[in-house]
Symmetry: C2
Subunit: 214 residues, 2 copies
């Protein structure tokens, strides 16, 4: 598995794999034993040959006329995507969204363990009701020595986004998951993922407006 | 403005506009009066001519040697993206993520007002501690008559995603914001936006693994 994971998958494939997993998990819940790429294709509107190609990256091969074994496929996808291992994260910015993510226990089902939150506001620091300690951002170096994390989830105000990312990376964080609308820049070798919830909201609003019924 | 909004913007432009807004808001906070596309370009690593082109969609034009007026640009972007108007939404699925989004008061700064939550679990229904009522999904028709919403935020388990979307659309919802890993299908004319947080997690995990240091 480790060797396979060292292949840098194309991003579109990486985006589709969680769809396959979600669908296969549903089948597993229904005690379905086998699934063909044709059936996945119909359910998800993805071309069957694309599915077979995507899954071949995982080293999973379907059998002629039978398809993929549901159990095997679910396990292979979960393992490949990293959901079955624990990855430690800090939340930087314990405001509204930061607290919400800390509280979202569902993320742990996908291998994400949030071990600490950081902020600069005296009102936030020292809170203990969220399940993880909220500490001053200056303590991130100390935290990295004691309960290290690989991922920093960035939920600070936009104006603090770049500086917060720089501090986290300086302390040894290797991946930034950016929820701010600011376009954070990182050095090569640091993993960067943007979850642009505001861009998605704008997309919804403008599409609704363009339908002329708002 | 309405007329401009009826232009269906290309999605890449729509993704960049919130970056510009976030940056311009920072400048506004610093009492900066004017900003050139070159300066925005340097800050965000977007080509200056692309920025000028994107902003021309809004009918905003910079002045030679002076650039854009920061106040005007911030207002034009906020208006155009729909952040300055209120859009009502329901949260379908008051589990961990659903509750987190209901609690995330920051979304209201971007024009999103969550007015009700829906679930099927007796443990969730009737809760009043989240600030909005949590009702049984069967009551969505009644809710649409009394406190209508345009947007349904989908935070149910994957196996309930399609059915929940169908119910919401049947009740009159016009846009689905899908947070589930399931690839929900909707009829033409219904707005669909996917926020694939699990895909982003997978991207982070696999990129970290491919760097061979995990």
């Amino acid at each position: 598995m480790n060797q396979l994971q060292n292949i840098l998958l194309p991003e579109p494939t990486l985006r589709r794999l969680p769809w396959y997993l979600a669908y296969v998990e549903i089948l597993r819940g229904k005690r379905v034993k086998y699934v063909s790429s044709t059936r996945i294709s119909r359910a998800l509107s993805v071309d069957a040959s694309q599915i077979a190609k995507d899954l071949s990256f995982l080293g999973v091969k379907g059998r002629t006329r039978i398809g993929y074994e549901v159990e095997d496929l679910a396990r292979a996808l979960g393992d490949f995507l990293g959901f079955t291992r624990t990855h430690r994260a800090y939340v930087i910015g314990a405001g509204s969204l930061g607290k919400a993510l800390i509280r979202d226990s569902g993320l742990s089902n996908y291998g994400l363990e949030i071990v600490a939150g950081f902020d600069v506001s005296p009102a936030a620091i020292g809170r203990t009701d969220l399940g993880v300690p909220i500490r001053h951002i200056d303590e991130i170096y100390d935290a990295m020595a004691r309960t290290p994390a690989e991922i920093a989830i960035l939920t600070v105000p936009a104006e603090a986004a770049q500086e917060s990312a720089d501090i986290a990376i300086g302390a040894g964080i290797r991946a930034i998951w950016n929820f701010t609308p600011y376009r954070v820049k990182v050095a090569e070798g640091v993993v960067m993922a943007n979850t642009s919830i505001y861009a998605h909201l704008a997309l919804i609003y403008t599409r609704l407006a363009s339908m002329g019924q708002q």
